[in-house]
Each structure stands twice: as C-alpha cells, then as structure tokens.
C-alpha cells in the first residue's frame, strides 16, 4: 500500500493598506480644535428643539435647521451605559488587534443633554456601575493632535460614588 501524497495548500497573508485624509469641516474642526488647544469639550445646541449635539454638526439631526449656538460642556459627567470588551477584534485603522480588556462607555457630560462615547480607565466589572461619575484625562500640552483621542480616557471617580 502506497502512502497518498498530501497536497500542499497555499495560504497567502495579505495586507490592505489605504492611506487617506479627510477635512474636518468648520463644525467638527471647532470641536477638535477646542480639545487640542484649550482642553475644552464644546457642543452645539439646536435653536429649535434645544438638543445638545455632541459631536456637533452643522444641522440638527431632528429638526434639520442650521445650528449656530455653541455651548461648553464640562470634561466630567455620568456614565449612562458601558461595555467591557474581553475579546480582541481587529482595529481597521491600524490593522492590529485591539488590546483587551477595555471599557467603552457613554458619558453624559455636565452642561448638556448629550452623551460622548469614550473609554474608561477601569476594566473590572465589579468597579463600574451606571450612574458613576467620571472625568476626562487629556494628553499633555504639545502632544494633542486634534483628535478625539486627545482625551486618553475618562477616569472613573470612585470617591464621589454613584448618584
């Protein structure tokens, strides 16, 4: 009996890499510039329905009217929901797997009625609850580039406790 020769099956590792650039436009540009230059989080407010738009946009997503009123939000607020991620997934912006665990949360910033989605510094499920307070931790001066990642993460404030 002759041994059957196994076929060599070829698998090719490829990398799709697409460099690009996009213009922020005046509204998103102001939001990102304020974070970069002044460590301020700004939003805009619809003149018709009064909603806070965060990140700001030039038109209200509900009323479809132009939004020109700017407000400053506090760099702290309340956690309204969160996800803790333990399974690594591909980050298409880097081509690398995301480091786990990490926590993504919706944060209702003081001074408005809109939430910002960002990361929390806590990855222990026992140490985070909806309603807890947290505050933004900015990158040091000179290291901010005009990106929402100029906020490194939101630090959960345990001493203030839940509401």
């Amino acid at each position: 009996m002759t041994e059957e020769k196994k076929q060599d099956l070829v698998e090719i590792q490829e990398l799709v890499s697409v460099p690009h650039s996009f213009a922020t436009g005046p509204v998103m540009g102001r939001f990102l510039s304020e974070i970069r230059d002044n460590k301020r989080i700004v939003a805009n407010k619809c003149p018709k329905c009064g909603r806070t738009q965060l990140p700001p946009r030039i038109v209200c997503a509900v009323c479809h009217v132009q939004v020109d009123d700017w407000i400053e939000l506090q760099p702290r607020g309340e956690i309204t929901s969160y996800d803790m991620i333990f399974i690594p997934t591909l980050n298409p912006l880097t081509g690398k797997m995301r480091e786990v665990p990490y926590t993504s949360a919706s944060i209702l910033l003081d001074g408005g009625d809109a939430t910002l989605t960002h990361f929390l510094d806590v990855t222990d499920p026992k140490k985070v609850k909806v309603g807890m307070r947290c505050e933004a931790v900015f990158r040091p001066d000179g290291e901010r580039t005009g990106s929402v990642m100029d906020i490194v993460y939101f630090r959960v404030l345990t001493e203030e406790g839940s509401k």
């Binding site: 990398l15 540009g29 102001r30």
Partner: protein
Amino acid sequence: MSEKNWSFEVPGKLEVPYKYYAGEWGSKFLAALRDNMKIMGSKCPTCNKVFIPPRSSCEQCFGKISEWVEIGPKGKVTSFCVVNYKEPYLPVEPPFVLALIRLEGADSDLTHIISEVSPENVRIGMTVAPVFAEQRKASILDIKYFKPAG
C-alpha cells in the same frame, strides 16, 4: 459662528490584514512556481482551451477540467501600461510596466511586470521570458518579472 476658519485636515489610514486561500488548483499552480519554477495551466478536455491561472472548471462550457499542462515560459505581450505612481501595495518602485502576457500554449493572459527594458521600448507583440525570484514563497511574485527575450 465666528469668522475663524476651524477646518483642518486629518491624516488617516485604513489597514486590514487578511488571509487568502489559493484553493486546490491555485495552490498547485503556486507550488509549481516555488518548487520547480514552472508555469502550469489547465486544459479543458472539451474546448481544448488552456487557462492561466489554472481553473478547475471551464468558463466556456462549464465542464470539469482535470488536465494540467506546462505552458510558456516565454510569451508575447498582448497589452501593457506604464505605472507612474507609488502606492504602498505596489510591489516595485514606479515607473514600471504592467503587461498582459500570452504565454506559449495558453489561451488566456497573465498579468505581470516587465523589466530590464525602458517603458518606451516595450511593444505589443514583443517576446518576453520570466525571471524567477531567488527566494520563492508560493506567490505570483515568485516570478520576479518578465524580460525581453530574442
């Protein structure tokens, strides 16, 4: 809003790694390049068409193909263009010639690079021969490029 122009440009990148499985016939084709420096095609028993890259079913009659044939290695340029721009995914530095090459014995064209000749001297109908890479890893770039041949 104030008169200040807040717009700026953000550089970005999308990057997605993936694995491509060459399949039964594709694997055989690539392994032949790597191990024997041979270019293999597949021949339809009904239409007598020889396909490169090889395929297991005929695009003309939808019949099953099981015959392997060695083709080339020489071929004639069917068409070509000159690539003048640089992108990260391109295998060589521009300017370079990308050509359709009809290998001897084949009924379809292989797309590959033509080198060792300046782009302005490339002609449709010219005979070219493959130059194989020294380090071969079962990729279409195991053929480094084609060069003019007599």
